[in-house]
Symmetry: C2
Subunit: 196 residues, 2 copies
């Protein structure tokens, strides 16, 4: 298959990339997180709703509080990671829609007047942005350790508010040698695709 | 910001990429869709659950059926696109978990015994895979036109089954000159990020 992106880039973004549990000590700066965001914010979402929100857990005190809401198996690796971020979905994203989607200023009320609809849309579209964000981390030469093993209610109460739905925690840093497990098997194309 | 991926690649994947409504006549083959899938299947999902399923709408007859379930504004551009795919989430993904996540063969029953939990997990993780898929389309030098403007129940009844939840339809092809609208504004980093 002839890609338009060169092979080293595809290796870095997908083929040689792994969910990482152990990182080097090299710090990760807020400026790097902004660089990743400014790249991947360009990825598409429905109505350009852009519901992803990022909580950068920077201080030792905040990290301690984060650990108490992770499952035990995620605590030590998160304590040792250079940086962790909480990715959440803003269920009130529609307030910004007239600015974000000026082609249809009425979308806010026409499609997103109801909170359950907004929550579902925010979760699905923030998940898309979380995927772009992971690709962006790798584009910067860093590795990502995304985790769902957490108490979402605890995370929400501790760091967010009722309008921000926790999606995942992502550890970020330079991958340490051997800092990942062997890749799990993936489903073959024939198992996931149908042609009609 | 110093990225590890070169600038032409980042331009192609994000900076110069646009949701596309008009494509050239150049066909898109199933082999190309497989090439995209085989790259982006490597992107991470929770428990490696990999719930994304792809329905390639290839025949003229199937495309006609698809059009009837799209909102009017999406019909003409889909009729003219080289290829459309329906992306859906398999709510019964857990059946494959013992194979996909051998490190914890019990995850299937421990976390995903309940259908509503599976549906939510499938939608969120298939959305992540849809985002990787869009990145993969662009990596191949093609353009994507993802759309939510559809009747999901109609799509499900026409092309899927009760276990497959429609996520979006994506038109795929070589972008035509002027085949996209100007990019909508994005939220600034300061609007989405908090440091604690």
């Amino acid at each position: 298959m002839e890609f338009a992106v060169n092979s080293p880039a595809l290796d870095l973004l997908f083929r040689e990339a792994h969910t990482t549990h152990t990182f080097t000590d090299e710090p990760v700066t807020d400026r790097q997180i902004q660089g990743i965001y400014d790249l991947v914010k360009l990825g598409p979402t429905a109505f350009n709703q852009s519901p992803l929100r990022i909580t950068i857990v920077r201080t030792a005190e905040a990290r301690e509080r984060l650990l108490t809401h992770l499952v035990e198996g995620n605590q030590a690796k998160t304590a040792a990671a250079p940086l962790s971020v909480i990715l959440s979905a803003d269920a009130e994203f529609h307030a910004e829609l007239p600015r974000l989607f000026p082609a249809f200023p009425d979308a806010k009320d026409a499609f997103f007047a109801e909170r359950p609809v907004r929550e579902q849309s925010a979760l699905v579209n923030a998940a898309m942005q979380a995927a772009y964000f992971i690709v962006g981390i790798r584009a910067l030469g860093l590795a990502a350790g995304p985790m769902n093993g957490m108490d979402p209610d605890g995370i929400q109460k501790e760091f967010l508010d009722a309008d921000h739905l926790p999606l995942m925690v992502v550890n970020i840093g330079k991958a340490a040698e051997g800092g990942h497990y062997p890749r799990g098997p993936r489903l073959d194309f024939a198992e996931v695709a149908t042609t009609v």
